[in-house]
Symmetry: C2
């Protein structure tokens, strides 16, 4: 039986506006075309990865209201590929055209304190945390939650930037200086065994679909590899998916969300939510080749009011980020029989820059044989 048509569904031929022109915007545009959807990218930078793949491009600043108004009138829905879209930009657009995920979800995810507070209210376990507005407050927060802890700016941090470890009272002043003495959050350090992530989708009709959890390994604070299936029990995987599903439901969220979780072992495994990202997520790139519907297509289905696709996996997979010079291995990777290469069209190679990724596929249920991953394979 076909479920009823979502009345707000945007038919093929509709134009999806994307704020941001990085590799995530590029891969959204590449996933939009087979659905017959056109992408109009709004970006401050003309020479961006998405420019090569989208149907239309506006190059303007995010506070250029004239350009934003023209953009809003040219698209049927607006989404974004990074969470640091200025709140005013999102609100300006939302007054003119649907913005999905909503500006409310965006605002919560932009502020680590709001985010953690929301997660707690949704019943998700998180590390204990306190807001910190000045040095005295940081001392009080340390006294309240204990050490070791991590001090993070409330806004604009990513890939380990805007963070300082506070291991002892002696680190407090230096940590406060290191993050630039801006509004922050102190989180007690959680001794975890590994990081998992769940890519969750919620459709405009409220339907929720979660992909299998990935095991993520970072190097120099940047995601290096995601392995699926993660080497955890079925119960832990189900618990991780359930947490992600609860989060997107409680936010009335529409689109893909990346939910990062810390798994602590022991007799009773514990999952803490580390952070949520209101967008397609690097740790979900494996879905491009191991699932019939990728996270990029799923996001578009959600924001356009289409039925969600099946998140089932047809391969085991390891996604490896190609950082900096690693992308120069393109030719060897292309010669691997089970590897799917994804380059981002960036001309300039810089150390640590995300130049692309590769998904290495293995038969379903074989377990990824290339690397012997264990529960103790710590980030």
């Amino acid at each position: 039986m076909t479920p009823p048509l979502e009345p707000r569904a945007l038919p093929p031929g509709s134009v999806v506006g994307i704020l941001g022109g990085g590799q995530l915007g590029r891969m959204l545009a590449l996933a939009a075309a087979p659905l017959g959807l056109r992408c109009h990218v709004f970006t401050p930078s003309a020479a961006c990865p998405a420019a090569q793949a989208c149907d239309a491009l506006t190059v303007a600043a995010f506070d250029d209201t004239e350009a934003l108004a023209r953009f809003a009138s040219a698209v049927s829905v607006v989404t974004y590929e990074f969470e640091n879209v200025p709140a005013r930009t999102a609100e300006f657009l939302a007054a003119r055209v649907p913005v999905r995920p909503s500006p409310r979800a965006l605002a919560i995810c932009q502020d680590r304190f709001e985010e953690k507070s929301f997660l707690r209210s949704a019943g998700a376990a998180t590390a204990d945390f306190r807001a910190v507005d000045e040095l005295d407050g940081l001392h009080r927060a340390v006294a309240a939650i204990g050490l070791p802890a991590v001090l993070k700016t409330r806004r604009l941090g990513y890939d380990g930037k805007g963070q300082a470890a506070i291991r002892a009272d002696a680190d407090i002043a230096a940590g406060w200086a290191a993050i630039g003495q801006v509004p922050a959050i102190l989180e007690v350090f959680v001794a975890f065994d590994c990081e998992l992530s769940v890519i969750a989708a919620r459709g405009l009709d409220g339907d929720v679909a979660c992909y299998d959890p990935a095991l993520n390994v970072h190097e120099n604070h940047v995601l290096a590899r995601s392995t699926v299936p993660a080497p955890v029990t079925a119960a832990t995987a189900a618990a991780a998916r359930a947490i992600a599903a609860t989060i997107v439901r409680r936010l009335d969220y529409v689109g893909i969300m990346g939910v990062e979780l810390f798994l602590s072992g022991g007799a009773e495994p514990v999952l803490h939510v580390n952070e949520i990202a209101p967008r397609v997520h690097n740790s979900g790139h494996w879905t491009q080749d191991a699932c019939t519907v990728s996270q990029f297509e799923q996001h578009l289905r959600a924001v356009c009011g289409w039925p969600l696709g099946d998140p089932a996996r047809h391969h085991d997979v390891i996604m490896e980020n190609l950082l900096g010079a690693a992308a120069e291995r393109w030719r060897d990777i292309a010669a691997e029989p089970n590897a799917a290469l994804h380059l981002y069209g960036k001309d300039e190679v810089r150390a640590g820059r995300k130049m692309g990724h590769v998904n290495r596929l293995y038969p379903l249920g074989s377990g990824p044989p290339a690397r012997k991953l264990t529960f103790r394979d710590r980030p």
Copy 2:
């Protein structure tokens, strides 16, 4: 062991020129982006499916030598998405930049008599045929090869256009008139049980890779469905692949070729080559979702001197063309859990127009359960 680098390999960042802006060009452009390759499409029609997906577009006629010269200087290699590129266009470009597949291969495939003659010289079985240049010649050809037979224009026919059946001597004059009294080929009718096709690739280094044969079913002379695996024996499938491999080798071909074969049953199955297409092929669209490397990526790998990808299949699959109003079922198709939708971005729906296709996936080895296909499921 890594094979030696093909010295002519074009690295990521290179620009691939594509002649033609239809859906095949569009899907080539979508497959190029993950390889870091940029596509520059040359098309007489600005409002074409490829325009929405390519990095650069030249809108000009195929005899506009100024535009062609600029195009040649802007790209590292030229390929094409349809076989009716004027020979002069291909030769003009080939004097300036590599054209792959070669103008020679293109010329052979553009002329049914040259094509059939080449196939015979390569040892492939074909229907008996004669060139026909005038009405008297048609009478002589009928006397030589017998009836029933099919009269086809030597050039520019596709999807059943430019063809006339000659069942009895009384049909001869009308058939000659029906095809416009132009140079033609008369082929004796082959009583076949089904049509198969093999999508074959040959790399710049001479490596050859063939996908599994598909069973093709036509409706109103247009491909309706391709089913893989085809319901034939392993020996027949291997024979079909071997014929295709011989053809691309004998032509020193570079790129994807679609090889259509007629299978006649009986105690000893016989394969006749019907025609070859020097491009990605509608009956190979199933590779987009049932293989790690699609025919589109494979074609780009070949023409750019990259190693060929593994043509192994990880799903059984039925590709269904969405003709005309069938594309209006997009929402129902999107709700099918095993369906991958591919729309071409065409605004205007016309009866019989190829608007998109859908690949329906089934677990490997399960056989396509949706339709009970048999060897006798005749086109």
